[in-house]
Symmetry: C2
Subunit: 640 residues, 2 copies
């Protein structure tokens, strides 16, 4: 084993696309599309494989457009209030809307304008114009007129017009069929018991859903262990029944080589490695004139490379063009460092604060599928840029509707499980409103308000001198802002320790023990400030604490490290300890407030969030969670 | 029978909505939602009925993030090029990406940075930081963390995250089920033979497709004749199996009374008549605590009232909010008259000409389903406005993606079937490009260019003095514009007459015959100018011609009137006569050109349209149509 030069041929994205799609074009993948005839009523969302011309005119006869009487217009000329005209049987005929116009009549008078003297005689006081209230033959569509062109995705109204045009069946493109082959010895199916090293195989389900959204069908093969011949066999089998194959490599480099070699063995390896991040180890090939894609195993890499390569492929196989996502200009709130040579795709949260969109980067690890759940957009950093500075104006591709982002209340600051609960209650009660939170610590929240990057900030900042929470910090750092401070809850901070407290930790003073590994919160977190205050009071130097430098961003992340055994304890809230079934040693109660910028206080969405905050249901849910005192929840603590 | 006071209680739209949704809310329709448990893999597009918290942490163990060797970081401190450190078996362990971190090790060194001396010894020249290249427990999601809230529509990435969170099944809202009851004695099924007075029943298929788009399921009952008791029976049967019922009245007023009375008999009639146009005769009720909607029969009225009432209903039944369509500001190109007292919904074409969006109203008849196919947007005219003036800036709801509209080449002017063929060829070859045409006649096209409402105009305007086509008109009316004139084709104009020419029409001079009814084109149409020129040459006064005042807007519409027997002849092109199997008496060949505003000539979409225009395939299709000479097709005739 030696240093390996992997992906030496990593291509820039556009070049990789050119190579792949150029080869597919030459292979005729996009020109020879399979067609099937289906019933018009079942054609929603399908793509027409031929122009659809009307077979008949609609209406196919001259029809009464209203309920009334049909007449010959010439016979009514001169009618007025003072000189009414009486029409006798034969000169008029009662018609309902849609009835054919009787022969030798050219006009319909609305029922409301007819005075019936008897069944045989009517009086009219207005003349009728020729063809008034008549739907002439072909008013809607004339036989042979184009209803919808080829390559058109059918909508409900198209279905109506095509049926009106006399069609029962039409030709559409067959949905492309893809076989997905999950590979990896470490994979287990959802629901199976998990041992260390096992990975739940869910990429294939994500791919199937993506393919469905793009109009293709997917067959998921049984997962395969890392076995060259078995996987090769599966690919050969897949090629017999599918229009394309997706091999989902696990995360081991060894297997990616399998995919590349299998493609080489069976057909043509076109691309191995693209200089994008995440998603570098993507593999693109052509076997038996069918596209075969090797998609990386990390879920974010997988999702992005599916979007970049499989989406345009699937759309073009159906004669559809690839339309880019909507883009907006936004201010980047934080510095994002990126390496030269790779085009980076950063998932971001987007908020609309006042008139401006602001973006904050999410976790950049390729393994965090939740970053895609939380993301509102994708920010691309070109290969030749080293990153983006805080305050830069950037272009962002939207993953959500702009409206949805505009209806989002952005809370940046300290993390509390109660914010998740609040977000859920808001969505339940007001589906149109979203609450988005980012965890950057209490001080981070204050800075976010100062820079107008959030509507509100969550914080629990104890002022050592006064013993007061939050207000002194707001006075100090947000001097120029008007703020409304609303209480979220009082909560208990304490040491989160392993179930049963095996190391017999009694309080902060034990943190200096040599046998104890601590896990800390990031700088600017209220919890860290609390720790530092306690250490100062106890005269313990931070260097004495093993793990003081190891930072996590949320209470739950701290608890997870304790649960996972990489730390013996961490400072956090009771609900986090309870969530992961850990023990808790109370250290200090504290007040957690939301500081809301006054200029957004009257915003409808903010008011609705506050309404939910004050609801009995929300307070009940906090009580169930434990460790919260809701006696002031939703009350205005102060304004500035 | 007397004048009827129908819809005396027609309510303003917002009031009707308040009455309907208020009553549904009180009935608890939106608070008691049915829930079902389904497999996560099958949940794409479904709505969560509960918040989904992670059951496990992901990763659930500390995992190697790369291929390499696991080490204890402390053991590597001090390693450098000059002072490499040698690790022996036991001090390192080879790990693949995703492997669990071995006990007592806290760091992974990438394979590329390791020098293997033997299987038992490695050399490193960089120190490892604690936890480097390690995915800590819960990096993606920590057990108990919220993955997605209640009322959330599930996307592919959500499916991945929920599976990663340890779920196999989740609770989602059941899809609401609606029964659609088509009623009307005049209805026939698609594909059945059509007699005068028959109407193809397609509304139910449009409704089913709309409901599918909104997340509901639909059952279409057999169509019912206009029979009070039968329809009532059907409604009662529907209520047993559905969450809501949609009765689709035909177009006769009599039947709408049936629907209202049936609802009154069975439950509560809430709204009968809404002051909107089209869509006034909508009926809304509540029977057995289930919504029952009486939707008008005209297809456009039906579509709009479904959108206005059924869409928010269906969405709210699934805990979803109704998000309005994207709106843009646009310049209205033509005067639109609207009646006071009704809120009018005008279907419009939208074009982006330069930096500005411009809208043109489409056919306003409630019976023209094709107007919904052609529409790019809906322009609402409030009940208290008499209309909109040409040049007014208006707000328009988009029915299409803005991108799609921006990729549309707008051709306004004379009608020719060849433009339909061209539009189809463009869509076939370049799915991302649309060609939109509006038929307002050659002079209308010139005026549209002058007002910058189109990229190009189709025209065939003969200058009597010079015998030249188009150029003299462009010189006269578009003096200040730079124009590129491109030939579409030469074509034959003539009299379109009934098959076999029963009235023995020989030419224009026969139009003055008393026994002949003519159908004309609208003012400003090149064909009408040609007629006027010929009449002048023959010294025939227009008043002599029966039907001179009856105007149609397209060649096909003229042909349709001849085919339908409401006229004996009309002037038009050979392809229109052939399309409807009519006879044709040649009158004059003429040149049809596209005048393109020079400032848009270089636009990518315009260039692609020209490329298609010049293609062999397009010319071949024109030849098949007949009556076209393509010897100059695609050539630049002149520029100005």
């Amino acid at each position: 084993m030696k240093k390996k030069d992997i992906y030496l041929d990593a291509l820039p994205l556009e070049e990789a696309k050119d190579v792949f799609f150029g080869e597919l074009e030459r292979a005729g993948i996009f020109s020879k599309k399979s067609v099937e005839e289906i019933n018009v009523s079942e054609s929603l969302g399908r793509i027409t494989a031929e122009p659809i011309f009307s077979k008949i005119s609609s209406p196919h006869y001259n029809a009464a457009a209203v309920d009334g009487i049909a007449v010959l217009s010439e016979r009514t000329y001169g009618a007025s209030e003072t000189t009414p005209i009486i029409l006798s049987k034969g000169e008029f005929e009662v018609v309902d809307t849609g009835d054919p116009l009787p022969p030798n009549m050219d006009s319909v008078i609305m029922m409301e304008d007819v005075n019936f003297i008897s069944d045989e005689k009517v009086e009219i006081i207005f003349p009728a114009l020729p063809w008034q209230n008549v739907r002439l033959i072909g008013e809607d569509v004339v036989a042979t007129e184009l209803i919808v062109p080829e390559n058109h995705r059918l909508r409900p109204q198209d279905i109506g017009a095509i049926l009106a045009g006399g069609h029962v069946n039409i030709k559409v493109y067959k949905k492309p069929v893809f076989v997905i082959i999950p590979t990896g010895t470490e994979l287990v199916n959802p629901g199976e018991e998990l041992k260390p090293g096992d990975i739940i195989e869910y990429n294939s389900k994500v791919f199937k859903a993506l393919l469905a959204e793009w109009g293709a069908e997917a067959l998921i093969f049984e997962k395969h262990k890392d076995d060259y011949y078995r996987i090769k066999e599966a690919v050969e089998k897949a090629l017999k029944i599918a229009d394309g194959v997706i091999i989902n490599a696990g995360s081991s480099a060894g297997r990616e080589d399998f995919t590349a070699n299998i493609i080489k063995d069976l057909g043509k390896l076109l691309v191995h490695g693209v200089s994008i991040k995440p998603g570098k180890p993507v593999i693109l090939g052509l076997v038996e004139n069918k596209p075969v894609l090797g998609i990386p195993g990390y879920p974010v890499s997988a999702f992005l490379t599916m979007e970049l390569f499989a989406k345009p492929l699937v759309l073009r196989m159906q004669g559809q063009s690839f339309t880019e996502r909507e883009k907006i200009r936004a201010i980047c709130t934080r510095r994002i460092v990126s390496s030269i040579g790779s085009e980076e795709f950063v998932r971001v949260k987007i908020g609309k604060i006042g008139d401006e969109f602001v973006v904050s980067p999410l976790h950049r690890g390729a393994g965090t599928i939740t970053s895609l759940v939380r993301a509102d957009g994708i920010l691309r950093i070109p290969a030749n840029k080293e990153g983006i500075e805080a305050g830069d104006c950037v272009e962002v591709e939207l993953l959500k509707d702009k409206k949805e982002i505009e209806n989002t209340v952005v809370i940046i600051g300290s993390h509390d499980v109660a914010i998740d609960i609040l977000a859920n209650e808001v969505k339940r009660r007001y589906p149109e409103i979203n609450l988005s939170s980012a965890n950057v610590g209490s001080m981070g929240g204050i800075m976010a308000l100062k820079r107008k990057e959030a509507h509100a900030a969550g914080m629990h900042l104890l002022d050592v001198d006064t013993g007061e929470y939050n207000i002194p910090y707001i006075r100090r750092y947000l001097r120029d802002e008007k703020i409304v401070l609303v209480n979220l809850a009082f909560r208990e901070q304490g040491l989160i320790v392993m179930k049963g407290n095996p190391k017999n930790i009694k309080g902060i003073e034990d943190l200096k023990r040599k046998d104890i590994t601590f896990v800390n919160r990031q700088k600017g977190a209220g919890t860290r400030l609390l720790l530092d205050l306690k250490l100062k009071q106890l005269n313990i130097s931070p260097e004495k604490i093993r793990g003081y430098d190891r930072e996590e961003f949320t209470h739950l992340a701290v608890a997870a490290q304790v649960a996972g055994g990489t730390a013996d304890c961490g400072l956090g809230i009771l609900s986090a300890a309870k969530a992961l079934d850990l023990d808790f040693i109370p250290v200090s109660p504290e007040r957690y407030d939301l500081a809301i910028l006054y200029e957004y206080f009257e915003m409808e969405a903010v008011q609705k969030v506050l309404e939910v905050l004050r609801s009995v249901e929300f307070k009940e849910k906090l009580k169930v969670l434990g460790g919260y005192d809701t006696s002031l929840t939703g009350e205005i603590i102060g304004g500035d």
